[in-house]
């Protein structure tokens, strides 16, 4: 479904599936995207807000093409809004700590925590690009559709975001390749 794009004439007039089908198909990927973007604590709220906004707008869609991309575009905007609201609250703490988890006492757990904290602190566009590309495994064309940019710009956002993560968390990485 995600491979269809808005410009394809064939999808115009395609009927909207029951909203529950959209929830069932995308819930896992969307939840993972939100946990990666805003952290475990705020992911449930962000999920609820994304889905409610989508459900509210759903009957007004003119066709059922690329509904997954549409849903993640809403999620991407919610994440940006949440970041702005957080900045406005101006709490002098750079980052709300995650609750301790059993593995967090081990070295590996700390390393894991450090990586995802760094992901959340990326600029929104780079963060969404990295998460959609590397957590969700999307092709660049679809990442670009969500970010509202060209595939080349999406590739660049991923490249810059990854480079930043590698430096900040002192990790190695493979060369960025793929569609």
């Amino acid at each position: 479904m995600r491979s269809a794009t808005l410009s394809e004439g064939a999808v115009i007039g395609q009927r909207l599936p029951p909203f529950q089908a959209l929830v069932d198909e995308h819930r896992s990927a969307l939840y993972r995207y939100l946990v990666a973007s805003v952290g475990y604590h705020d992911a449930a709220d962000a999920f609820q807000e994304t889905m409610l906004a989508a459900l509210r707008a759903y009957p007004g869609l003119r066709h059922g093409g690329n509904l997954g991309g549409w849903l993640f575009t809403i999620a991407h905007r919610k994440v940006i809004d949440a970041g702005r609201a957080g900045a406005r609250r101006a709490v002098p703490v750079a980052e709300v700590p995650e609750p301790p988890r059993p593995a967090a006492t081990e070295k590996g757990g700390d390393r894991h925590h450090e990586l995802w904290a760094a992901v959340r602190l990326l600029p929104p566009k780079q963060r969404s690009a990295v998460v959609l590309r590397h957590v969700a495994g999307w092709p660049y064309a679809e990442v670009a559709a969500v970010l509202g940019c060209t595939p080349e710009a999406a590739r660049q956002s991923v490249r810059v975001g990854l480079a930043r993560l590698r430096i900040e968390t002192r990790r190695s990485g493979t060369a960025e390749e793929g569609p």
Binding site: P17, P18, F19, V119, V130, H134
Partner: protein, 205 residues
Amino acid sequence: MIIDDELANGPRPDADRRGEDEAVRAFTERALADGLVDVAYATVDSPIGALLVAGTGAGLVRVAFSGEEPGHVLDELAARLSPRVIEAPVRLDPVRRQLDEYFEGRRKAFAIAIDWSLASGFRRLVLQSLFAGVGFGETVSYRELAVRAGSPRASRAVGSAMATNPVPVVVPCHRVLRTGGALGGYGGGLDVKRRLLSLEGALPS
């Protein structure tokens, strides 16, 4: 570990499933509370198989037998009523309870509002007449039902109204037989029709 692999494994995979279920549950609850669910549906287990039941703000709009493909039933609801179709069992609790009681022989009449949107014109008229006028344990012929609906010669049209009944079991098309007592047809299969009539003590000999 290479950063790409670590990212692909996702954040906190141990907690993902539980958190995800909770997030979906909270979304569904809020969607219901905010009036954003136009069609709610659930699956109800019964002695005649799993029934898919769907309701709107106006009432029960669809009952589908287990032989019908749920995906098709839901697609049809989305196309004909509204694409805001959400699985929300809590919204169908009264229907589930009354169906349970009916199949246990403890309920003779359904106190459930019906949304007739999926039946139109003469078909709707016939189904409404059937729902209001033919009670538990009674049977009626296609011709008699045509008379009651005010079109004595329309027994064939009554037959197609029964065949396309969107709310079977609750709107009791199983109580409609051929003149002389032959079973006629049934959307859920003749075994189901026989079983429902037998439950009601109305199986023709």
